[in-house]
Amino acid sequence: MRFTQPPGPSITFKPRLHDARTATVIGRWLGLAVVICFATGVLSHYLQHPPAWLADRLPSRPYWGYRLTQGLHVASGIAAIPLLLAKLWAVYPRLFAWPPIRSVRHALERLSVAVLVAAGIFELFTGLLNTFQWYPWPFSFVPVHYAVGWLLVGALLLHVAVRWPRIRDHFTRRSPGTLALPSADGPDRRQLLAALAAGVGAVTLTTVGQSVTALGPLELFGPRSPDHGPQGLPVNRTAAAARVTEASLTDWRLTVAGPRPYSLTLEELRAMPQHEVTLPIACVEGWSKSARWTGVRVRDLLDRAGGDPRAGCRVVSLEAAGAYRVMEMGRTYAQDPLTLLALGLNGEVLSLDHGYPARIIAPNRPGVLQTKWVGRLEVR
């Protein structure tokens, strides 16, 4: 690509590195990040809001699945930020192409690029701010971030299809398009790309500690830190926010509805067979931390109520209000021996902010579905 200055706006760009080879190499990295981010995002959406036909079929294993995919979602999104800025830098002169519109096809092409750029900036901006629980926009984050994700990946596919001849011409160092570029730019371009890789590495290393506990000491900019939180675990919704108080729990009993309904005091629950599992809390915002949980298997509780061995359940929290007060648990999760109604965390009695007296902990599930302050189970 040569930006010989045509008559038109008097903006001049030194042509170096604003070329198709630079755009192709950065575009490949960015495309990979966007595809990973999109795939893990859609997966997370369906785990959190499964349609009826899927709810009982979602796999409860591997137990670390959601921790990995949602960690990847946030990490690939953060990695995409320097990549998107670099990609826009590389192609910025094309914004001033002259004449601005040559044909209907050219107009449509530019429109699709505008959608791609707008959707890309929007997704990374809203996603990053969401991890910091910062919502300056006047719309609901989850459905809009989800919708624009489809817009972005669609615009990306269209872009790759439209630009494919140029991408192919600049795909390797020895592709004909690359060879036609000034050879003096080669070392300069490699330096730029190495610097960009270092930038991606730097933002990843300074944030990924929120989900990779071993890299916690390197975490400088993550919104959560595995070391900060009662009983060694961060908290999303506190008891105060859910309006659950110690006083409101004095007469607490667990009610289990089913063919043979019953209710249990905390003492009776503690007298049932206790199990210990090590499972992570993995939040949709990307942070995750593994912990040791002790409690009663949910499937034992459902069996006792006369639920059939393939039963799922509904879990109702004592919290006053909230989008996840009532949680539906598909049968794969309810029957998994790792799924507990947990009474203890890391060797202690569950603290109030972690869901005392009893909370759900299940494998391979988003944190918002690990219902706290459980008051009622219903066999389905």
């Binding site: 953060i78 320097p82 929007f122 629980q133 919708a147 669609g154 790759v160 270092a198 900019f221």
Partner: protein, 134 residues
Amino acid sequence: MAYRYLVGGCGIVLMAFGGALLLEQPEPWRVGVWLAGGALVHDGLIAPLVFAIAALAVAAGLRLRGVPRAALIVAGSLTVIALPPLLRPGGVANATVLPLDYARNWLLAMAAVAVITVAYVGLRACLRRAARRR
């Protein structure tokens, strides 16, 4: 060629699906404002600013290519992701949200970039001098 049309067609279908989901929102135009706003702020404000600063630096006789550019890219990337916790207004939901000292960490990160850059340049100069002597 056929593959290109297939992939492009799939892209248009996915875009239409995303657009339809957006139209289900209570006030989709608000999303449109933020979609267009992001692109406008980048193309009309951030990018010209970066190009202008680079042009000024070059006019002042600074050489940006190579190591200085790499240091600026890394420092800039780190600064961009440090901005939300540094600028976020209002209180946090609880003590485990934004628990780190982000201002101190940003200064640490910038210092680390500066130290690594200076060390790299120094090491390279030493190696070159040693190579010349030989």
